[in-house]
């Protein structure tokens, strides 16, 4: 463990910049976006410096801490505001600041016509600061501050165009769904405090060694709930689709590359809890498997390009969560998929943004078609991202997703078959819907609305996309080369005890299977959408309709949560009014009666006051008289 003093700048710089831009107001309109971008870039610079500094240190000294100040000290309970930069956090730091900076650059052009561009950049910086705090905090409480911070930034950015009521509602929905998860996290913190007496990662880790399994399972379940809220996992997934209301760079940064993966981070960070509780692990894989299929199926039916990508994000994070639930071997693969996904999904979102930029903000893919010729660079970069996500070798997604499917099969027994099968099925559907997106958007005949003149985006937008697509091509290979990431993360996730597991299939067989289903998915999609595509969506099968309605998640929420919730609230209000309020009112009356009688004693005559004092003295004397009797 190394002690450093410069970690705090990672957070302080963007936080300061955010406050600065917000406080300065319109004066900063002309240069605010450059300033914010420069800050973000310098944060990335610090991140790189820290990364190389860490690499130059030997194994045990790689993790670095910084104690900023003593935050809370009540009795024996002490929490420091401290930062922890270890092998896991640095991955996130680089991803957040790297992708973040590219998206800052992209946004300069994308938001150039917006009156509130400065405010937008201030929020982006706020997000960077909060997200860095989330991954750098050394305790659950510090993480919680960052966790709430990104929630706030996400809320502000989804509702950035809050003059549209639908967008404001979407922001609120995201906020509320996140809140459910946050309750999970705060409960987890309380459990950790009451059971282990500590909320730092290291403290909980030490205590977890000899904790009851019930406590660990409860803790794991609450952390999972938190992760599900933030990462849009089943059953709290409904907000992500609507969150696409925010500007596209926001969708790329927050709702694809970074914030939504915070759940994966949380579970990976808490690996010691999940390693110790098989029940918690089981819950995690169930949530992961359901979500990966759920997201994939929803993705097949969406005509809105951003919502299709959002569904895909949900599904891909499902993969990551699944991987984290597979025990010590899975964490590194989850993080690897997270990093590669960060590249290719951000690149595709920015590509989608570029398309929308050229198409007068049209998001309906049925209104696209044949854009490949007009926007060659966007098309190529999007295509590279596409190849990466469906898992074609040697693109990034192949390495990471393949590993997850493989590990899932190796989970052993029926569980292995089920999980592996689900992952495989997911891969097939992914191939189908992503092909659908590409075919509908870039090939076929033009179905543009009248008066649209699509054009390639300015280079300021293209450069970040190109850089990101380079990442989506190469990152998988680089991270997997000689198991580089697995070894790098080994000290954090403690994979030492990872049994190789009985291999159900040889890796090559799994790869072949995966490729096979991918080809199947691609072919189906190409065949289905090759011909003319109706501009108005056909009625479709009940399943399609169901998928369009997000597999009924909102209806489900409405029926199962909202209606009974309302009923309960109503009865509670009734009870509150008649019973609780009755008591309260009775207490109130009693108090005000007492209060009025006390007022009578306070009659304003000094002789009465003196008498009262005398009576007090007499009472005291009488006590003594009795005591000394």
């Amino acid at each position: 463990m190394t002690t450093r003093t410069d970690l705090v700048y990672l957070i302080a710089l963007p936080l300061f910049s955010s406050a600065f831009l917000l406080l300065l107001g319109r004066i900063a309109d002309k240069w605010g976006h450059f300033f914010a971008t420069a800050i973000s870039a310098s944060t990335f610079g610090i991140g790189l410096y820290e990364f190389f500094a860490m690499r130059s240190r030997s194994g045990d000294f790689r993790a670095a801490t910084q104690r900023i100040f003593e935050w809370i000290s009540v009795g024996t309970f002490k929490v420091d505001a401290s930062l922890l930069l270890d092998q896991l956090s640095i991955c996130f730091v680089l991803l957040i600041t790297g992708v973040g900076t590219l998206i800052h650059i992209y946004s300069i052009a994308y938001m150039s016509h917006d009156r509130d561009r400065r405010r937008f950049f201030a929020y982006l910086n706020l997000f960077i600061a909060a997200m860095l705090l989330l991954v750098l905090g050394d305790s659950y409480l510090n993480l919680y501050v960052g966790w709430e911070g990104v929630g706030l930034a996400s809320y502000l950015l989804i509702g950035f165009w809050n003059e549209r009521p639908a967008y404001a509602t979407a922001a609120k929905k995201a906020f509320v769904a996140n809140r459910v998860g946050d309750v999970g996290l705060s409960l987890a913190i309380m459990i950790a405090f009451t059971q282990f007496g500590s909320v730092t990662f290291s403290g909980v880790k030490d205590a977890a060694l000899h904790a009851s399994s019930a406590a660990l399972t409860a803790l794991g379940a609450m952390l999972l709930l938190a992760a599900a809220g933030k990462s849009a996992q089943f059953p709290l997934q409904s907000w992500l689709g609507d969150a696409m209301a925010g500007p596209t760079p926001v969708s790329a940064l927050i709702h694809a590359a970074t914030m939504v993966t915070a759940g994966v981070y949380l579970i990976t960070r808490s690996n010691f809890i999940f390693d110790a509780s098989s029940t918690a692990r089981l819950l995690v894989v169930i949530v992961g498997a359901i979500t990966l299929l759920f997201g994939a199926i929803v993705g097949t039916a969406k005509d809105d390009i951003k919502k299709a990508l959002a569904a895909s994000t949900m599904s891909q994070i499902g993969y990551m969560i699944l991987a984290t639930g597979l025990g010590p071997v899975g964490y590194a693969f989850a993080i690897m998929h997270l990093l590669t996904h960060g590249f290719f999904k951000a690149s595709m979102f920015l590509g989608a943004g570029s398309v929308m930029h050229g198409m007068n903000d049209e998001v309906n893919m049925r209104r696209y078609g044949g854009l490949g010729k007009v926007m060659p660079i966007t098309a190529v970069t999007f295509g590279l991202g596409y190849l990466a996500i469906i898992g074609v070798p040697p693109f990034a997604g192949f390495y990471s997703k393949d590993k997850i499917i493989e590990t899932a099969f190796n989970a052993g027994g029926a569980r292995g078959i089920l999980l592996g099968g689900a992952a495989l099925l997911g891969a097939a559907i992914t191939a189908f819907y992503m092909t659908r997106v590409v075919v509908l958007t870039f090939t076929g005949q033009k179905r543009w609305a009248d008066g649209t003149h699509p054009h390639e985006s300015p280079s300021l937008m293209l450069i970040p996309i190109i850089l990101l697509s380079v990442g989506s091509v190469a990152s998988g290979f680089l991270l997997n080369k000689g198991n580089a990431l697995v070894h790098w993360l080994a000290p954090v996730v403690d994979a030492s005890g990872a049994e190789g597991g009985a291999e159900l299939f040889k890796p090559i067989v799994v790869s072949a299977l995966a490729l096979g289903v991918v080809v199947l998915g691609v072919l189906t999609a190409v065949l289905k959408y090759r011909g003319t595509v109706p501009v108005e969506a056909p009625a479709g099968s009940p399943l399609t309709r169901f998928a369009r309605r997000d597999l009924g998640q909102d209806d489900f929420n409405h029926r199962v949560l909202v209606l009974p919730g309302r009923a309960i609230t109503k009865s509670l209000v009734g009870m509150d009014f008649h019973f609780v309020d009755g008591i309260v009112r009775a207490v109130g009356w009693t108090l005000s009666y007492l209060s009025l009688s006390l007022k009578k004693v306070q009659n304003g005559y000094v002789r009465s006051y003196a008498l009262l004092m005398t009576i007090g003295a007499i009472a005291l004397l009488a006590t003594i008289w009795l005591v000394t009797l």
């Binding site: 002789r607 009465s608 005398t614 004397l621 009488a622 003594i624 008289w625 000394t628």
Partner: protein, 258 residues
């Protein structure tokens, strides 16, 4: 009580006799001080109590305290009291009507209770206990002993008392001293001419002028027969001590007092 009396009786006889003669009188005087109606009588009874106390002090070997008691309290403080009483008026007496229900019986009960409790507690405490320490304190002489304490051990407290005295003096100044401007007649008349209108250049009308009464609380009448509110002292107005002017006016009233 009985034991205590026995105990006191067993001290040196002359002192005991002194005590039992003086003490009841002192208590009576103290009670009388509260109960008599005239302030002067009350003050005199207070002087009596103080002198009795001084005698007790001297009898208890606290010579210095006894003398100071006479000089300071009976001499200076009581004289001040009497001066002030004379300034206020010897005859003035406060209303002793009690207007709070139950206050008087409760007070008497409380006084009896406090006194009774204290008496019985002290009686219980001092029974069969001898007072100690007096001879040690007075070894170097009473005055010398006090001086020793006052100028060494308690010198700081003694010095800080000066702050108290300054505060008291300052307080008296704040509450009582008013800086009066002595404006000459000449200046006053110049001021009158310099003010906004010449309406009052000749001075305010005196109360009762042209009126059927010449009391100070009856407004003067203006030439048209209406009342002139400016003719009555604002202090009276503020207090509300002013008589309805309508009956004194000549013409039908147009203007009321403000």
């Amino acid at each position: 009580m009985f034991n205590m009396a026995l105990h006191v009786g067993s001290t040196q006889r002359p002192e005991a006799v002194l005590f039992w003669v003086m003490a009841p009188m002192a208590v009576l005087a103290a009670l009388g001080m509260l109960l008599v109606k005239k302030a002067v009588h009350s003050a005199l009874l207070l002087a009596w109590v103080m002198i009795t106390l001084a005698i007790f002090y001297i009898a208890e070997d606290a010579l210095f305290l006894g003398i100071v008691q006479v000089v300071v309290y009976t001499g200076a403080v009581m004289m001040l009291f009497l001066f002030i009483l004379m300034l206020v008026g010897v005859d003035s007496s406060d209303s002793l009507v009690e207007n709070i229900k139950g206050q008087r019986p409760a007070s008497i009960l409380a006084a009896l209770g406090l006194g009774g409790l204290l008496l019985s507690l002290i009686a219980r405490a001092v029974t069969n206990v001898d007072a100690v320490g007096l001879t040690t304190a007075n070894t170097a002489g009473n005055v010398q002993g006090i001086a020793q304490e006052l100028f060494t051990r308690y010198v700081w407290a003694f010095e800080v008392v000066s702050a108290l005295l300054i505060t008291a003096a300052l307080g008296a100044m704040v509450l009582a001293h008013s800086e009066r401007k002595h404006t000459s007649q000449r200046q006053l008349s110049v001021d009158r001419f310099r003010q906004g209108s010449l309406a009052q250049t000749a001075g305010l009308p005196a109360s009762g002028v042209y009126a059927r009464h010449n009391a100070v609380d009856v407004p003067a009448l203006l030439p048209d027969g209406s009342a002139a509110p400016t003719s009555i002292s604002p202090t009276l107005q503020a207090r509300g001590d002013i008589i309805e002017s309508a009956p004194f006016e000549l013409a039908p009233s147009v203007e009321e007092e403000n």
